[in-house]
Subunit: 362 residues, 2 copies
C-alpha cells in the first residue's frame, strides 16, 4: 500500500482530473483543463465518467480476483454509456444505462449490492438530472425496486413530481411497470456480515452523547467504504446529465436519507456542469456539495477542476466529510477528486479508450 | 383587487425588501439595503422574518375575519421568535418557536392545517438549518408528528443523520419523546373540501400525457395557494438560521416530497445568508432555489435583495415556477420577493415593531 501524506492529498487528487487515457497505471497529472478555460475552446469532448464509491479501500483487503472483477464491471458500465453516446444518444440515456449495470452488480452498494440498515433492511435511494432542461427525478427509501435509477427517471418523465419516497414511490413504480423484486433479492452474505460487524462494534463502543452531527459508527474500522455509484456524461449535442444510486451506509437508521437523492447534494446538473458524489452523505447535504461545485463554476469563474478540488479537498476536509465526486463541464473537462484513500472511478471519451482506477495511482 | 401588470412585478417585489416597519400599508420601495452593501456596514440588525405561504390569495376569497385571524397568528409567530432573540437567544430557537406557532394553527398548510394527498392522507415535511455550524435536520413523509419542525431539530441535534423519512423518522420521534398525534388531528373540513374539489377537477380534465415536469392540477383554479410556513432569523451573536414546514400540495401523490425538507431547495442557511421558500416545490428543487440565492451572494457579490429577486422574479418566472421566499443576510438585510399574487409574510427587528403583509401593497 502506498503511503499518502495528508498535505499531498490535494496535489494527488489533481491527478484524478482527466483520468489517464491508458487503462492503468494513471498518467501523471498535467491538469490540462484547469489552465485553458479562458483560451479558445475546442469542440466539446463528449464522454462519460462513473464512480463506484469512495472509502478506505485498502489494497490489502482487495484480492486480485475481486479487483479484476470490479474493474471489469466498471469497464462494462463505461462501455454501455459510451455506446449510447457514440451513436448520438443522450447523456441522460448514457447515465441511466451505466448506472443500471453498477446497480445489477453485487460489488457496489447500489441495487443488488445494497448495504443493510441498522434494522436489517435494505433501503435504496437514487436521483437523475437532465442539465439541459433541469428536469430531475429522485427516489428514496425503496425496498423492492430492482433499479432505483430507472424509477428516478420515471418520476422525472412520467410524474408531476421530482421526488418520491417509500411506499408511495413503490406504488408509482408498480403503476409504471418497473421491475419489482422481493426483499431477499438484495440479500448478500458480504453486506450482511458487514452489518453484523458494525452492530458488534457499536455495542462495544456506543455512540457518545452530544456527538457532532455526521458522527458515524465505522464498522470496526473495516469495510469503511461508501459504495454509492454514479455517472456524469456529456453527449454530442453538448448536453450534460448526472445520476447517482445507493444503498446508503451500513447500519444507517431506518428512514435515513443520504445525499444521493438530494438534488444539489449528491446529484446535480445544469447547462454547464454535472456532478455525482459519493461519501459520508450527511456532510454532502449540509454543504450542498454538487450544487456548490457548479455554483463556483457559474458564479466564481472557477474551472470544474478547481471548483471540485476546493469543495472536496478543502471544504469537506475541514468539515470532516470523507468522500469524493465526479464532475464534468460542458467542454467535457472532467474532475474526480476524493479525500478518501480510494475511489472506484472510470472515464471513457470520444476516443473510446476505457480508463478505470481505484487507488490514487492506478 | 389591485391590478398588477406583469412587467411591473419585479419593481413591486422590491417593495417586499425591508417589509414596512409600520404594520400596514407598506412603505414605498426605496430598497435601502441594495445600494449600501459596499458602504461601511452598521451593526448587524438582528431580527426575524416569517412566511405563511404564497399563492393566488384573492382578496375576494379572504374574508375580513379570516384576514384578521391570519394576521394575528403571523404576529404571534413573529413575537415568539422576537422574544427569544431579544433575550439574546439563538436564531435557531427563534426560528423553531416561530414555526411551531404556525404549525399549530389550522390556517396554514403545515402541522395542524396540512393539506391532503391524492389518497386522502396527510404527509408532513420540514427542515431546519443552523447557518453558523451548517448543521441541518430534515424530515419528510410524517403522519403522526404534531410539530415536524421540532422533529427536524431533533434529527439535527440527536441523530447522526441529516434527513429521515416516513416510519423510520416517526420511530425516531417516539424514541425522542416528541408529541405524536393520531391521523385525525390533521383533519380539517376546509382542507378536505379542497381535496374533493381538486379530485373533481382532475376527473373532469385529467392531466395530459407528456406534460412538462412540474405540471400541476390546480384545484379548479381556486384555493391555489401554497401555505408552507417558514422563518429566517439573525440573532445578536450574528448567527443565521432558516426553517420550513409544510403539508405539501393538495392532491399530491402519496410519497411525494417537495422542496421544504430539501436542504438547498426550500431551506438553507450558511454564515452569510438564510432562506426559506414557499411555492411550487418541484421547481424549487430543480433550481436549488435557496442555495442559489446564497451562492449568488457568496460568489457573485450580489446583495441579498438582488440575488433573491433574480431567482424568484427572473429564473423561476421563466421556468414557470410560482412562489416566493424570505431571505436574510448576516447584516440583517431582508428580502421577501414573490411572483404569485400574494404571500403571507412578516418581519420584526430590534425595534420590536411587528410588520405583517399578505398582498403586494399591504
Amino acid at each position: 500500500m502506498i503511503a499518502v501524506r495528508l498535505r499531498s492529498l490535494a496535489a494527488i487528487a489533481l491527478g484524478a482530473l482527466f483520468p489517464s487515457l491508458g487503462c492503468s497505471p494513471a498518467l501523471p497529472s498535467p491538469r490540462p483543463d484547469v489552465e485553458t478555460t479562458n483560451a479558445p475552446r475546442p469542440a466539446p469532448r463528449w464522454g462519460i465518467a462513473i464512480h463506484g464509491g469512495a472509502g478506505v479501500l485498502d489494497r490489502a483487503s482487495l484480492s486480485p480476483e475481486r479487483e479484476a472483477e470490479t474493474r471489469a464491471v466498471l469497464a462494462a458500465s463505461l462501455e454501455a454509456g459510451h455506446g449510447i453516446l457514440a451513436k448520438g444518444g443522450s447523456s441522460l440515456d448514457a447515465v441511466t444505462a451505466a448506472i443500471r449495470i453498477l446497480e445489477d452488480s453485487p460489488l457496489f452498494n447500489a441495487g443488488k449490492g445494497a448495504v443493510f440498515t441498522h434494522e436489517g433492511t435494505n433501503e435504496l435511494d437514487a436521483a437523475l438530472m437532465n442539465g439541459h432542461t433541469r428536469e430531475a427525478g429522485a427516489v428514496a427509501g425503496l425496498r423492492h425496486v430492482r433499479n432505483p435509477i430507472t424509477l428516478a427517471r420515471s418520476v422525472m418523465e412520467k410524474s408531476p413530481h421530482v421526488m418520491m419516497i417509500g411506499e408511495g414511490a413503490e406504488r408509482f413504480a408498480e403503476q409504471e411497470g418497473l421491475e419489482l423484486v422481493p426483499e431477499r433479492y438484495f440479500y448478500t452474505e458480504e453486506r450482511w456480515q458487514a452489518l453484523q460487524r458494525a452492530l458488534a462494534a457499536e455495542k462495544k463502543a456506543p455512540p457518545p452523547q452530544g456527538k457532532p452531527q455526521g458522527f458515524w459508527e465505522s464498522p470496526a474500522g473495516r469495510d469503511h467504504k461508501f459504495g454509492t455509484v454514479g455517472a456524469v456524461a456529456l453527449d454530442q449535442a453538448g448536453h450534460l446529465a448526472a445520476g447517482t444510486s445507493t444503498g446508503g451506509m451500513t447500519n444507517k437508521r431506518f428512514g435515513r436519507v443520504g445525499d444521493s437523492p438530494i438534488i444539489g447534494a449528491g446529484t446535480y446538473a445544469d447547462e454547464g456542469c454535472a456532478v455525482s458524489a459519493t461519501g459520508h452523505g450527511e456532510y454532502f447535504i449540509r454543504y450542498t456539495v454538487a450544487r456548490d461545485v457548479c455554483a463556483r463554476v457559474d458564479y466564481a469563474g472557477m474551472t470544474i477542476g478547481a471548483a471540485a478540488d476546493r469543495v472536496v479537498m478543502d471544504i469537506l476536509v475541514k468539515a470532516g466529510g470523507e468522500g469524493g465526486l465526479i464532475a464534468m463541464d460542458a467542454q467535457g473537462n472532467v474532475a474526480m477528486p476524493f479525500n478518501s484513500k480510494g475511489m472506484y472511478r472510470g472515464y471513457m471519451g470520444a476516443d473510446g479508450i476505457t480508463s478505470v482506477s481505484i487507488f490514487r495511482d492506478r
